[in-house]
Each structure stands twice: as structure tokens, then as C-alpha cells.
């Protein structure tokens, strides 16, 4: 086998492996999508049916029973609100740690990440009681605060990695021109990091959109986002797969479309720390 042939074979094998992984990851979403067009009986049939007469009944039932727009609006407000708030806190934090590191900066970063290792349920009761006492139960503000705290460590870490890759010489040049640290951050670092900040923000939005644990525990009728709407379609006594799939499809649709448009930034955001 010549070198060119070997290369070709390698390309084919890598392509095949990538397609297999991509299809494996995509399959559950595809199955959810087609199940949403089945009747409950078709949804449970063994062997599973791939060809059937599609019905829109599940979607109309979901529309009839749940206020989809209200849930979607709650998801939009909490995801974007929490992301903006988290970025406002994380940008100065990451900036100071990247450009003015102290002796304990690494420890602080590790400590921040360690908070993500605590299972959320471990702090459920204190957070529930605090939310009750501050009137934040079943409120969008309550969820925004929780989502912000939840994603802050990841956002700080991502921005920190991004800022660290910026050439220090540019900042030195700005300093020579008389820029203060504040000017450096606003006028030099931020314009250079728009891509990194955008991809960090996108990831945060996706994480907030998909969050279910706190949404289910801290909301009732007013602030419940789409994840709470999906959960309401699971039934202890009765078939529900088709209706649940329809609710999930409706809940996923906005973020999938959003992700589709922003996939370039997302991929960049997820890989920019990996090539050092």
C-alpha cells in the first residue's frame, strides 16, 4: 500500500468513525422527533415502528394543556438574564486573574471549580428555605440568581483561559500610552475577546435552557420554564411517550435552531482551551 493510499484509507476510517459517533448522538433526538408524530399505541409498539401515518394530535394536546409560550418566555428570560448577569461578574474576575495573578489565583480557580463537584441536591434545603424567606420561590429572578451561581465557575474558567491566550505585549503597549487597568479591560481586552465571550455566553445559555433540577424544585405556576413543562407529561398511570416526545420536541426546537445558527462560535468556545 502506497503512502497516498494509506492516507486515503485513514481519511475514510476517520470519516466513518465521525459519522458513526454523530449518528449515535443524533439518534435519540431523531427518535424523540418521530415519536412525537405517533399515537400512544404506536409509540410503545414492539418492534418499534419506523413507518407510520403521522399525526399532529400530540402537538395539539400539548398546546391545549400547557401554555407553551409562557414556559418558553420564562426559559428565554431566565437563560439570557442569568447569562448576562454571570458575564458581568465573570469578565472582571477572569480579567484580574489572567492579567494580575496573585499567589492564590490558581487555588481560587480550583476552589471555584470544586463547587461544581457538590451534588446540587446537597444544598436543596438551604436554598429552598432562603428562596422562601426572600420571596424568590416561583419567581424568574430567583431562577436567574441560581442559574448565575450555577454557571459562574465554568464561565470564569472559560474566560480565564481565553484572556490568558491574549498577547501581554498589547496590554503593555496600552499601558505605555497611559491606559488604566479599567481602560485596558474595556478598550483593549474586551474588543479582542468578543469571540470568546460570545461562545462562553452561548454555552451558558444552552446550560441554563436545559437545567431541570432547580427549575422543578423552585418553581410552580408562574416561573416554570420549558423543562418543567416537559416533566409534567410523565405519568405514573397511563401511556405518555408520544405526548412527552411532542412536549420535548417543542421545548428543544428553539435552542436547537439557536445552536444551529451559532454552531461556529459554540465549537470555537468548546475547543479554544484545547490547542495550547
Amino acid at each position: 500500500m502506497t503512502l497516498t493510499q494509506q492516507r486515503k484509507l485513514k481519511t475514510i476510517l476517520v470519516g466513518l468513525a465521525s459519522w458513526t459517533v454523530a449518528l449515535l448522538l443524533f439518534f435519540p433526538i431523531f427518535w424523540m422527533f418521530i415519536t412525537s408524530f405517533k399515537t400512544e399505541l404506536q409509540a410503545i409498539s414492539v418492534p418499534p415502528q419506523l413507518f407510520f401515518e403521522p399525526t399532529f394530535e400530540n402537538f395539539s394536546l400539548v398546546q391545549e394543556r400547557s401554555d407553551y409560550l409562557k414556559h418558553a418566555w420564562n426559559s428565554v428570560v431566565t437563560s439570557f438574564g442569568a447569562t448576562i448577569l454571570a458575564l458581568i461578574i465573570a469578565i472582571p474576575a477572569a480579567y484580574s486573574m489572567a492579567f494580575f495573578p496573585g499567589k492564590k489565583t490558581k487555588d481560587i480557580l480550583l476552589w471555584m471549580l470544586s463547587t461544581k463537584m457538590l451534588p446540587a441536591v446537597g444544598v436543596l434545603v438551604p436554598i429552598y428555605i432562603l428562596s422562601r424567606d426572600y420571596g424568590l420561590l416561583d419567581s424568574k429572578l430567583g431562577l436567574v440568581i441560581i442559574f448565575t451561581l450555577m454557571n459562574l465557575p465554568i464561565i470564569v474558567w472559560m474566560l480565564f483561559s481565553y484572556f490568558k491566550d491574549l498577547p501581554k505585549e498589547i496590554l503593555e503597549a496600552a499601558r505605555m500610552d497611559g491606559a488604566t487597568p479599567w481602560d485596558e479591560m474595556i478598550k483593549v481586552v474586551l474588543p479582542l475577546s468578543v469571540g470568546g465571550i460570545a461562545s462562553t455566553g452561548l454555552l451558558s445559555i444552552v446550560l441554563c435552557w436545559n437545567e431541570a433540577f432547580w427549575s422543578l424544585n423552585l418553581t410552580a405556576s408562574e416561573a416554570a420554564p420549558l423543562t418543567a413543562m416537559i416533566a409534567s407529561y410523565s405519568s405514573p398511570e397511563g401511556l405518555f411517550w408520544a405526548k412527552l416526545s411532542a412536549a420535548s420536541t417543542l421545548a428543544c426546537a428553539p435552542i436547537v435552531i439557536f445552536g444551529w445558527f451559532c454552531q461556529k462560535q459554540l465549537v470555537q468556545g468548546l475547543t479554544f482551551g484545547a490547542v495550547k
Binding site: Y128, A220, S232, E237, F240
Partner: protein, 435 residues
């Protein structure tokens, strides 16, 4: 002066008008069961009848509902004004003063509610939740398969007879399994079924000193019989099946028999979701050494948390949703076959209902034969047929369920599973200060 008086009168009138139209909004937490969703659909009728009360609905998955309402009620958050709770929670929460007693005065006709259901939702004679629908357990079987196999299935057959019938109907090559039973771990899943089965083998959860009895011969006999039966004549992967999985199997025509909640009868006879709708027969649950506690008793009920600020409006709603008039309203909209059952004697006395629901007689017989206050052969200190109404039971029942599910899957022997479960239960009861 005149204009001042006029202004004052105008203000008073508009204030009175505002008060007259002041709305009370109540939030209702519920599970996604067919009857509950129907109640949500019919709620505009309630708002028409009581224009000063507006209803808000929160539908949750059963586990999440339990967790949320427990948090809400234990912390006095007052997020919900009406909550859907089960027969397990009602007496425990009633005893702690977490629930408002149900207002049964006037034309509510509390005497019409089935006595066993009323008893299960009460503490010290006071009803703390109003039953929305009730259920027991019974045998659902395929008449065609039984006939083909030459077996008969009747009320209160012995477990041996059921095993023989399962063996005769079992035809795995053609995708038909003799019997489908719950195997998924959970106090409300496999242990609901197995507790009732163990009762009929003469077992009990606790003796009169609250000591767990899971290592008794009665428990061992029951669980060994169950594991053997399901392994020989049950569907593959039975340790992962609960109500919905077995419902799917039965409706697909893959089970000869299924012993589960009576509410399933309306699903398996519904041609829209069952391939075997016209071939199903019903019989009372089997027994081994006693008929006591052989079939369970459960009710989904509406309770009013003591922390609510809208108790009066909540009472009005609960009385409406659990009244005879509501049952009639459902019948007017969807027919008598779709009404919530297992709550009121008058439903079963209605000839239109008995005509529409082929399972009515079997269901009433099953519910009436279950007595939560006397469900074990040997005396026991707890209330409940398939559970013990004490706060510790959820954890004890679920741990035992996990052990038994493991034994069913073949990962440990039955005796070992019961010993571990008993040790864990003993530790929890000791920690809780029972002895």
C-alpha cells in the same frame, strides 16, 4: 360640600364594586393522570359557577410532585392551595397538622364516599383529603388465551392456580408471557404489589413492637414464589417493569395475565390504546393462606395545606371536584365510561355507569374488600394495605424494593436480599426511636 359627598359616594361604590369582583386565585398541584387532566379541562365550568375564584394548575411528575409538595408543606411555603396527595400521605400529614380537614358539611354527602377509601384518608376520624379517584388491585387476563390453554381464572384463586394458569398460557416463542407483574424497585412500584401478595402469604411489615419482619418465613415464601413465577413465566427484563411498562406489554397482547391497579381496566379495554380491548376478563386478586390484604387500596386525593392563605376558596374547589355533581359533569362531557371511579357508592349504583364500565363490579368488590386498618393475618400496628403509613416507610419500602428487584434480576439470592432489607429497616426504625 355637595360635590364632596358625591365624590365620597362614588368612591364607596367603586370600592364595593372592586371588592365584589376581587378574585381569589388558587394554585393546584397535580399529577399527569388521565382523570386529573380531565379535571383541568373542565375547570372553566368551576370558574363559571364561582366567578370570584380563578384556578392555576401545576402538573408535575409523580416523584417531583411528592418532593415539591413535601417541601412546600414541611416549610410552610404556601406555594400551593390544593395539592394532589395519596392515601399514604393523608393520615401522616393530617396527624402533624399540615393539612386542613376537608369540609364535609352540607350537601357534600360524605356518607356516599366508599368507607374503606374514607378510612384510609382520615386520621382519628377526621378526613384530611377528599378522594378524587380510588383504586385497588385485581387480575386482568386474556379470556382468549385462557380458553386456548384450557384454564379458568376466577375470583380469589390460589397463587398456585395462578402459577399453573401462567404456565399454561406462557408461549414466549410467539411473544406471549404467562404473567406480567411489577418488578421495578420502589415503595410505590414493586413493593405495592409485593406487600399485598405478602399479606396473603400471612406476612406483615412490622410486629406490634415495630420490629421489621422481613426475614419471617411468610415473607420468604412470598418473595421466593414471586421471583420463581416471574422468572419462569414473566417477560424478559421484568425487574425494570412497573405499571406503564406492563400496561404497554398487556395492550400489545404480550401478557396472559396482569395483576395491577384497577384503574388499568379502563385502559386495557379502550380500543384506542389496546390491541386486546375486547378480550380482557377481570377477577379478584389471588391469595395464599389468607384473603386479608390480598389486594391493595389507594386513592389520589385533594388536600389543602394548612399554610394556604386561600383556605375558603380551596375548600370550595375541593368540594366541587370530588362531588357527585362533578362525576355527572364528566359523564355529560365524555360518557359514563370515563368518570373517575373508586370514590362514591352512588357512581356504582348508577345503571348507566355499570353499563358503560365492564369492570365496575370487579373494581367495587376489590375496593370494598380492602381494609387499611386490618390488612394482615397477624396483628400489626400500622394503617395501610400495601404500605405502612409512617414517615419512615418510603425509605424502608424503597430499599426493600431495590433488594427484591436485585433478587429478581438474579444478582443475589432471595433470603440474602430480605436479610439486607431487614437490617436496613431495623437501623432506620431504631434511629427514628421506635425502640
Amino acid at each position: 360640600m355637595k360635590s364632596l359627598t358625591k365624590t365620597a359616594i362614588a368612591c364607596a361604590v367603586s370600592l364595593a364594586a372592586f371588592n365584589a369582583f376581587a378574585e381569589t386565585q388558587i394554585t393546584i398541584a397535580t399529577v399527569n393522570n388521565g382523570h386529573m387532566i380531565e379535571m383541568q379541562k373542565l375547570s372553566p365550568e368551576f370558574e363559571k359557577q364561582y366567578p370570584d375564584i380563578k384556578l392555576k394548575w401545576v402538573t408535575l411528575e409523580e416523584g417531583v410532585l411528592r418532593q415539591n409538595v413535601t417541601q412546600d408543606i414541611a416549610n410552610g411555603s404556601g406555594l400551593y392551595d390544593v395539592m394532589t396527595i395519596g392515601m399514604y400521605e393523608a393520615p401522616i400529614w393530617g396527624e402533624r397538622g399540615w393539612l386542613e380537614p376537608v369540609d364535609t358539611s352540607g350537601d357534600y354527602d360524605v356518607e356516599d364516599i366508599l368507607p374503606s377509601i374514607r378510612g384510609g384518608l382520615s386520621y382519628n376520624g377526621t378526613m384530611y383529603a377528599a378522594p378524587f379517584y380510588g383504586e385497588s388491585s385485581m387480575v386482568m387476563y386474556r379470556k382468549d388465551l385462557a380458553e386456548k390453554a384450557g384454564v379458568t381464572i376466577g375470583d380469589r384463586d390460589s397463587w398456585e392456580h395462578i402459577r399453573d394458569a401462567a404456565a399454561a398460557m406462557n408461549d414466549p416463542e410467539n411473544g406471549v408471557y404467562g404473567i406480567c407483574l411489577r418488578g421495578k424497585a420502589g415503595w410505590g412500584d414493586n413493593m405495592a404489589f409485593l406487600s399485598a401478595m405478602a399479606n396473603s402469604f400471612g406476612a406483615r411489615w412490622f410486629d406490634m413492637d415495630w420490629k421489621p419482619q422481613l426475614t419471617s418465613d411468610e415473607w420468604k415464601n412470598a418473595v421466593n414464589f414471586y421471583v420463581d413465577l416471574l422468572n419462569k413465566y414473566g417477560p424478559p427484563g421484568a425487574s425494570g417493569n412497573s405499571f406503564n411498562e406492563n400496561l404497554a406489554l398487556f395492550n400489545e397482547g404480550k401478557c396472559g395475565m396482569w395483576i395491577d391497579a384497577t384503574i388499568a381496566a379502563s385502559f386495557v379495554t379502550d380500543p384506542k390504546q389496546s390491541k386486546v380491548a375486547d378480550k380482557v376478563g377481570f377477577a379478584q386478586s389471588p391469595y395464599a393462606v389468607t384473603e386479608k390484604g390480598a389486594n391493595w387500596l389507594w386513592s389520589w386525593a385533594l388536600g389543602i395545606p394548612a399554610a394556604t392563605k386561600n383556605a375558603e376558596a380551596a375548600q370550595t374547589f375541593v368540594r366541587w371536584a370530588t362531588s357527585k355533581e362533578y362525576i355527572k359533569l364528566v359523564a355529560d362531557h365524555n360518557g359514563w365510561g370515563a368518570v373517575p371511579t373508586g370514590t362514591r357508592t352512588s357512581t356504582y349504583e348508577n345503571p348507566e355507569f355499570t353499563k358503560a364500565a365492564v369492570f365496575a363490579d370487579a373494581e367495587l368488590k376489590a375496593i370494598n374488600s380492602a381494609n387499611p386498618n386490618d390488612s394482615t393475618l397477624q396483628p400489626s400496628p400500622y394503617v395501610g394495605v400495601q404500605f405502612a403509613a409512617i414517615p419512615e416507610f418510603q425509605a424502608i419500602g424503597t430499599t426493600t424494593g431495590q433488594m427484591v428487584s436485585g433478587a429478581l434480576a438474579g444478582s443475589l439470592p432471595v433470603d440474602k436480599a430480605l436479610e439486607s432489607a431487614n437490617r436496613s429497616a431495623d437501623r432506620q426504625m431504631r434511629q427514628a426511636g421506635y425502640y
